[in-house]
């Protein structure tokens, strides 16, 4: 473990883009141990000679064990049993609060030079359009996870969500760097501001949720499933913000990010049609069904085995499922997908078929074996030929 020689406190390394930075040096108001720490580091900290570090690490570990045990127990209950466990009406319930910051990099890449512009509900500086986009969609993402799925932040422990805006110059991307969200402004020709679609912000935050749950490996099928989960929860954030049901939604991801009213990054309803004859990008290569699975090299240039290509297949399965159920996607299909995504049985190297089994099982648990919801899930996967 790295130790800051001045303070004697541990450092956490992370990377933004290609820059290696010791982020926790800049968390003046926080103990660095509250930053994202992998279990092996927590274990080391628990044994640390620094009493305060060890106490915090142990407390975090205890909370993690409690949460996992609770999830395992609750996951095994029937819908009726789960209902009986809910607190009685009128009982005092501990309410979690959004813990989020927006920081402006002003076209730099070093997080230590970023300016805090919004801090937990308060604008520290005047907000530009990009900052407002992130405040709105970042808050909506947290609220969707908390209100609908009962999850407090990406780690379910209220982790501070940090959004870095205006990354580099004309940066054509948004990403989850392992602990924070980073957004570029786009080149202004092919790509617009990467904060201009709430589904993109929901997408990036969901990468954090996946990291803390199954940590699906970012290669081939498990990687495509990782990408698809981000699209699934990203679209639900957008639909909820717009109060759209499954029929009203256009099911497009990044419809503003890709410049041109006829273009979007991805279509969950009709993968492979998000952009056609685009002057720079050509045609959307996403397949909708398993028989069209795209085989690409497991390299950066091969999109790690086509993780952003083949996500179209599982996206389509979710779309068909949600559409056949009707209503708002987050009411039924979203809950089934969330329970499957957070099921301990979902392994890092999971394949589409593994996730299919879990969603069918959770549909049965939530709505009953043989229910129309369970049938809708089966039909969704059948349509995607998984």
């Amino acid at each position: 473990m790295l130790i800051n020689y001045k303070t004697g406190k541990p450092k956490t390394e992370f990377r933004v883009g290609k820059k290696q930075t010791i982020m926790c040096n800049y968390h003046d108001q926080f103990n660095p141990i509250h930053c994202i720490l992998p279990p092996y580091m927590s274990d080391k900290l628990s044994d640390s000679s620094n009493k305060k570090s060890a106490q915090i690490a142990l407390k975090n570990s205890v909370e993690n064990v409690k949460l996992r045990a609770k999830r395992e127990f609750v996951g095994g209950l029937s819908a009726r049993q789960a209902l009986l466990l809910q607190p009685a009406a009128g009982a005092k319930k501990k309410v979690a609060k959004l813990n989020m910051q927006v920081l402006d990099l002003k076209h730099g890449t070093n997080p230590s030079t970023a300016h805090l512009v919004w801090d937990n509900g308060k604008a520290v500086k005047p907000l530009d359009k990009t900052a407002k986009n992130v405040v709105a969609a970042g808050s909506a993402t947290w609220d969707t996870y908390y209100t609908i799925f009962g999850r407090n932040s990406v780690d379910n422990l209220g982790l501070l969500l940090k959004h870095y805006i205006h990354y580099s110059n004309k940066y054509d991307n948004a990403m989850w760097d392992g602990s924070e969200m980073v957004y570029g402004d786009g080149d202004g020709t092919v790509f617009g501001d990467f904060t201009s679609d709430p589904d993109i912000i929901g997408h990036e935050l969901t990468h954090g949720v996946t990291q803390y749950e199954s940590n699906l490996e970012y290669h081939v099928q498990s990687g495509a499933l990782n990408e698809s989960l981000s699209d699934v929860f990203g679209i639900m954030v957008k639909q909820r913000m717009l109060n759209q049901d499954v029929k009203q939604s256009n099911w497009l991801i990044g419809e503003n990010v890709l410049i041109g009213s006829q273009y979007a990054l991805r279509s969950m309803k009709a993968p492979g049609t998000a952009y056609v004859n685009h002057p720079d990008l050509g045609n959307d290569p996403q397949p909708a069904t398993m028989d069209k699975f795209v085989k690409l090299p497991d390299t950066s240039r091969g999109d790690w085995g086509g993780v952003h290509y083949n996500s179209g297949i599982t996206n389509f399965a979710f779309y068909v499922t949600a559409f056949n159920m009707g209503g708002f996607a987050w009411e039924k299909a979203g809950k089934i997908w969330y329970n499957a995504m957070t099921d301990n049985a979902l392994k890092p190297d999971a394949k589409f078929a593994d996730f299919k089994k879990l969603t069918i099982a959770h549909a049965g648990k939530l709505f009953g074996a043989g229910s129309k919801e369970e049938k809708a899930v089966k039909d969704g996967w059948k349509a995607a030929k998984v």
Binding site: K19, N173, M175, E204, S300
Partner: protein, 89 residues
Amino acid sequence: MKIKLVQSGGLLPVTKEAVTEVDWTKDESEHLLNQIAVDDNQKSSMVRDGIDHTIEINNKEVAVNLEKASGKYAEVFDHLKKNLKIVKT
């Protein structure tokens, strides 16, 4: 000699390339590549939708961290980054 910068990856996976002529010696370019090359241990496995850079020089292709370059080399890479063009697939 010719040097090509290749950028790949991203939320929408796109490959971009830019080429320029440099007057570096072979030894100089080898030394530079050793300094800015990214080895697997340095790669963060938790980045999602990330962008990567590769340099093609002297018939070699090396994954690099452009932030590690300084001085005249950083200027060349900045120029290349500004002139990246999408490779249609």
